[in-house]
């Protein structure tokens, strides 16, 4: 990214601020056509992005300022929906659950992914097989994953309680105890997401020069020090990418919660997107649902911006 940032200046032949008019006169022949070609290549993606992302976003923003009943034109009510959010205890519960879920799942799936990547980057026998096994959950849809979770965490006849019982441990009310239900959602998500994190870290690990590790070893670094001061910092771009992806995923979690717990018991697993879905498609209060969506977007953007500004290693990406 640092190289691409300086590229236009070099190509335009700009030698400094003292000669700005030179830029037009010294443009390389064919530069305009090349730029047009570039825009031409960009156009299909920009069009798709515009039609399927930016137009709906503008629509959602407009909808969030209206009172709707699912049909016909809404009534413009200014920021009433936003004011209503502040006094809505279920919204705050859903927000708290979403943040808690993000705080647990993001570092959890990254730590597990890094651990698996380190193991599978070593001379482990049959590591190709293990890599495939760990990546397999990525190929399973969220709904199917959640259905597997239902079989595992059914508190009457599920596999998890059978295992606990066989080990002589107390059985857990995975579905009727709020904390246990939340834990079951986290565990299923970790199972689903670890493979993706491992894959990114594995690619990052394989990009680290062997000479660098060897130099650290010759300098007397212990295994721990090599990881702490060489490998983990070198994985900065992967970590940056994963933090953003995991946080965005966690903010948007829906299918696993919807199928596994339905947001219950007593809203213990209700997250912002399931709450928006209930409002938009069950109650048909789409204006209020759009308001929740806009808040979610603003929080996601704010987090991404914050992470972008504070990351010291992001510029190494790409």
């Amino acid at each position: 990214m640092t190289t691409t940032a300086t590229e236009p200046r070099d190509r335009a032949g700009d030698t400094g601020p003292a000669e700005p008019p030179q830029r037009l006169r010294t443009r390389r022949p064919g530069a305009v056509r090349e730029a047009l070609a570039g825009y031409g290549f960009l156009a299909p993606s920009a069009l798709l992005l515009g039609v399927f992302v930016f137009v709906p976003l503008a629509g959602a923003l407009a909808l969030s300022l209206q009172r709707t009943n699912g049909f016909g034109e809404g009534t413009w009510i200014g920021f009433d929906n936003y004011a209503r959010l502040f006094g809505d205890p279920v919204f705050w519960r859903a927000s708290l659950n979403t943040v808690l879920f993000t705080l647990v799942v993001t570092p959890g799936s990254m730590a597990l992914g890094l651990g698996a990547a380190v193991l599978l980057n070593s001379v482990l026998p049959a590591r190709g097989l293990f890599r495939s096994i760990l990546i397999l959950p990525m190929a399973v849809s969220g709904v199917a994953t959640a259905l597997i979770g239902v079989l595992v965490f059914d508190q009457n006849s599920g596999f998890a309680d059978s295992m606990l019982g066989a080990l002589g441990l107390p059985q857990v009310d995975w579905q009727s105890n709020g904390t246990a239900a939340f834990v079951s959602v986290v565990l299923v998500t970790l199972w689903w997401r670890t493979g993706f994190n491992m894959l990114i870290y594995l690619a990052g690990l394989q990009g680290i020069s062997r000479e660098l590790i060897e130099a650290a070893t010759l300098d007397g670094a212990t295994v721990w020090q090599r990881y702490r001061y060489v490998i983990v910092p070198m994985l900065g771009p992967s970590t940056f990418f994963l933090v953003i992806m995991n946080v965005i995923y966690s903010f948007q979690v829906f299918d696993i919660v919807f199928v596994l717990t339905g947001g219950g018991p007593r809203n213990a697993t209700t997250v912002l997107v399931t709450y928006a879905y209930d409002n938009g498609f069950v109650v048909r209060d789409q204006g209020y649902a759009a308001t929740i969506g806009v808040v979610l977007l603003v929080v996601s953007l704010a987090f991404t911006w914050l992470r972008w500004r504070t990351s010291r290693t992001r510029d190494l990406v790409g």
């Binding site: 699912g70 059914d154 009457n156 339905g262 219950g264 018991p265 498609f281």
Partner: protein, 435 residues
Amino acid sequence: MPLTRRQLLGAAGAASAPLALSACGGFSTSGGDSGSSSDSKTITFTTWGTDSELKGFRDAIASFEKANEGVTVKLNSVPYEQMFTTIDAQLQAGNPPDVFRVPYYTFGSYAGRGQLLDLSTHLPDGFSDRFTPQAWAAVQNGQKPFGVPHHTDTSVILYNTEMLDKAGIRDIPKTIEDAWTWEEFEAMAVELRGSMPKKTWPFAYNWQGNGVTRWLSWLFEADGRFLSEDLKSAAIDSDAGRKAVEFTQGFFRKNLVPPNSSVKSSTYAQDIWYSQTCAIDWAGAFIIPDATDTLDFDWNVTFPPKDVRCAGDFGGNALVATKAAKDPELVAKFFDHVTQEEQMRAFCAGASLLPTRKDLVESGIDFDVRPELSPVFVAQAGAVLPQDSGQVASPSMSNIITVLKDQLEEAFIGGRSVEDTVKGLQDGIGAAVAQ
């Protein structure tokens, strides 16, 4: 042949054009026949359904087309999960089907928001006389019919014969008059509890998900209401309301039902009963074919308990026409045809559903699968009163369902007091109908 850059760009542009154009072209919802047809002699009809229900609809359509030369009914079947997001999207986009199928508890959301065709002037004289009063009440909005009651269903008790037998419970009600009282039912459940292993329960009730409206059967049995007679205010803050909440909360407090069978649970009562985790389940007649095919234990049915009176949920579905239907007279003719005695009998017998016609309720019908069970379901459907089914047709029902779920979950799992729960229900339902 080597390509020049210009040729390459030209080819790339040509290749990407369809993509870009397709992005502008919108997207279709499921099924290609769902929108309005330009042919005025065509009715577009969107529904979901089991195989036997769809067969019933196809047979009825074939019979209608045969009786009306040149008329076509285009059936568009969609999965239930997509049914109402599809219908809502089509209504908003202005290209809804002429006719669609809708559960009675969802009917009011469409009728009350001006999306359906008022059939008052299109149906033949005396049309309403063919239906039971409770069925006709379920398709009214502002005293006008906005649909036809195509069939109904109601929940009865399904029991695992061996589990009850093992507990020594053999005196099972045979007629609706002999149905257990609430107290007798609870005593039977407590006795059953005492004879069952730890991880099994006497019963599970089918109030999960949108089935939360089935909790209202307890309220109706206590002779209560949740809406006033004009359907414009809440009426659940009553002795009957408190009694129904207290009695059903006791199911969890006394460990008579699995803790994961509350109103917001993702585990359905049917699955709990299928896995023999409980001895008794509440379910509608629609379950009969699947249970007969799937279960490897003996099971039978009996009547739900009664309190001040017998009552039940008015399940099943209506057929409605959208306001934009091209040919309202033809649609009314179609509704008239599919609710004739012969058509309704065939549909209900094949799909294990209950009729809404008076004559069929009186004469009874025989389900194709386990016909000996049909009298129990038909008699129980007769216990639903028009005042009960009329409340469920409220335009605010989708909001009321959310209130019921939230408040009952707090009472059942959170242990909230009866007084607080009834107050929460009264306030929530009041706010829902005021919107």
